[in-house]
């Protein structure tokens, strides 16, 4: 393997590595715009120039392969001057409209100007070349050509990652600009990654547009619950409001994050979100509504026997919540009509990230099913359709997924746990809210069997509790408590019943991995 020195430090790297990769491994940061670790090298920006001994000119670190005995310096006056000059060149026609730019605060032009530039502009503002300002580029993106530095990260992303090729560089030399190909918008499933990788404010998110300034945002590492992929994410929030989701690259799960996953935070938005219980179409505080739910369960169990109460697990819920559901059925109500069978075909759908299984925790249900058993999905559907079930306790989306196969539900009373009003496409006399996985911790098992944990980034609406706590309280009101009253009891039960003691340490803590951001 070739051995080289960078700024006096020696490192051995595999053949074919570039100077920039070697420097990264040594902890020497070389500024760059067009280089991105997950995209092919293009070498257009010239920001990463370094001095290599015995070469006539400065070399670009991102595209120069290492050789044995190479001596690289990144801190000589020539390199510093080159960086400064490149930066001045990139900023010649830049509009410097940072006050209205969403990238401000995480902009590589701002950062590098403070580190390497600090020059005065030699172009009067009136002499700068003007280009087109904001225009929509697909469903989720805004394109501002004036801010663009033509690093072509976005073009390479569409060509090499999504392979949809919507973007191109139009025009020649100093008149070139990023453009959408004839009749195409950037409408692939991963378009918002372009806003992340854009080092300047040329591509910004339409969803996040003007919502918050990035320097106010707090970051909490978590897990995306949009599908079975289990992508690691960063939840960006401020003052109890989630503003956006960003990928937290993890070689085990994801580099990017799909647009659908990024929009999963919308469930928290006021209006659609359930923050009060609904009993017989009237709004009620969540706490007293639990008594009503307990009464419904008690009533059905006494009148037609416990076997007449059907309890459904949900692949949309965490291990904790499903465990409480299973405990409620087998330990408290003592019914056999428990269904934990929601598995469907899994696997990466498009060769990038999105999974065929749109539920985040079907594999978690398999773990619980091994312990609690329960009916097959079809057996339960048969039972409900035969009319022997007098009450259904279920999470809204799980019940929705069975709706096609079920007969009319209007005659069967239900106790529904729901996050948002839009999840309810049927009438129910008892709807209880619960805390989403942006507001409470929960374990999920992705399609590879990796157990991961979401984190509580923001607080739940007042009175709204995690689902397992809701069920625990209901069970106490029915007089047969499941005895899981706090997080300590929950995690003890979880390690004992579902995970087994050996699996627990393998849980990855998202965000604790030295996750480099996709902006890199």
């Amino acid at each position: 393997m070739p051995k080289l020195t960078i700024d006096g430090k020696t490192i051995e790297m595999p053949k074919g590595a570039t100077i920039l990769q070697a420097a990264q491994a040594l902890g020497v940061y070389i500024p760059r715009y067009c280089y991105h670790p997950s995209l092919p090298v293009s070498g257009t920006c010239r920001m990463c120039v370094v001095e290599v001994e015995k070469t006539a000119k400065l070399q670009i670190a991102c595209a120069t392969e290492i050789a044995d005995g190479m001596a690289v310096r990144t801190d000589t006056p020539a390199v510093k001057k080159a960086r400064r000059d490149v930066l001045e060149y990139l900023l010649i026609n830049h509009p410097v409209d940072c006050p209205i730019c969403d990238q401000a605060g995480e902009c590589f032009l701002q950062d590098y100007y403070m580190d390497h530039g600090l020059h005065k502009s030699r172009i009067a503002p009136g002499d700068k070349i003007r280009r087109s300002k904001r225009r929509a580029a697909g469903k989720y993106l805004t394109l501002d050509n004036e801010r663009c530095i033509l690093c072509t990260r976005c073009v390479r992303f569409c060509d090499e990652v999504t392979r949809t090729g919507e973007l191109t560089v139009s025009g020649r030399n100093d008149a070139s600009f990023i453009d959408m190909k004839e009749g195409k918008g950037v409408d692939n499933d991963y378009s918002l990654n372009i806003a992340d990788i854009c080092p300047v404010g040329a591509f910004t998110s339409r969803d996040f547009r003007f919502k918050a300034r990035v320097w106010f945002l707090k970051k909490t590492g978590s897990i995306c619950t949009g599908c079975a992929a289990g992508c690691n994410i960063e939840v960006h929030h401020n003052e109890g409001i989630v503003h956006r989701l960003m990928p937290a690259p993890n070689p085990e799960t994801n580099t990017w994050l799909c647009d659908r996953g990024r929009m999963t935070y919308k469930v928290l938005r006021a209006g659609d979100r359930l923050s009060k219980a609904r009993i017989k179409k009237g709004s009620m505080e969540p706490e007293p509504a639990l008594r009503q739910a307990a009464h419904l369960i008690d009533d059905a169990a006494h009148r037609a026997g416990p076997e007449s109460v059907a309890v459904l697990g949900s692949p949309y819920l965490s291990l904790e919540d499903n465990l409480a559901i299973a405990e409620l059925a087998s330990g408290s109500i003592k019914t056999g009509a428990l269904c934990l069978d929601f598995s469907c075909e899994q696997g990466v759908k498009d060769g990038i990230l999105i999974n065929k299984d749109q539920t985040p925790n079907a594999n978690g249900l398999k773990l619980l099913r091994a312990r609690y058993g329960g009916l097959d999905q079809n057996a339960l559907i048969g039972l409900i359709n035969s009319g022997r079930i007098k009450l259904i306790v279920a999470e809204a989306r799980a019940l929705n997924s069975l709706r096609e196969k079920l007969r009319d539900l209007s005659n069967i009373p239900t106790v529904i746990l729901a996050l948002a009003k839009s999840d309810l496409d049927f009438d129910s006399d008892c709807v209880l809210p619960y805390a989403s996985y942006f507001e409470t911790e929960g374990h999920f098992v992705n399609y590879k069997g990796r157990i991961q944990k979401t984190a509580a980034a923001v607080a739940a609406p007042e009175g709204v509790q995690p689902l397992w706590l809701v069920l625990s309280k209901i069970s106490s009101y029915t007089g047969a408590p499941i005895k899981i009253e706090d997080t300590k009891a929950m995690s003890a039960k979880l390690s004992e019943y579902a995970l087994g003691k050996s699996v627990i340490p393998a849980i990855c803590k998202p965000g604790s991995i030295a996750a480099k951001s996709t902006r890199e």
Partner: protein
Amino acid sequence: MIEIKKVDNRPLNLLERLYIWEIFKGFLVTSGHFFRNLFNPKGLITVQYPEVKRPLEYAAKRRTRHRLKVRADGSPKCVACFLCATACPANCIHIEAAEYQANPVEKYPAVFDVDLARCVVCGMCVEACPEDAIAMDTEEIPGGALKREEMYLTREKLFRNLPGEPSLKGAANRLAQGGKGIGRG
């Protein structure tokens, strides 16, 4: 040049130690002012603030109640960049940004509130503003309200141009001018 006054620290004599005469001297001063103001109210030194306000002098003029400057078309110069709210040590500025559909400036503050009850009149918001949009030169002393709500300034209460304005300073001004592009793209 600072004027130095030497304090006479001699011990009190007998008359002064009795205090009777000194108290009487004090009452003479107080009642002197009382009768002078009673018969000649125009000479009053006390200002009946906030009903009556005195013009400010010297440095006191430099930081007074805030105002938001407006462009010629009546739109705010502020583009809701949040730099004033970031710089504010008292956390008294609340902004909510919104997007113009047609105006080329793109961004404006749908809500811009200054809570004068919290404001410490430090002027950092004015220093931070890249748009020359906020100023503290109204020469009104912030506060001095009879109700708490009056201390809360909304966007509309803050809009004000002084004579000689609107000025063309500020980064987003060229967008407001609608300067057409030279280059393509």
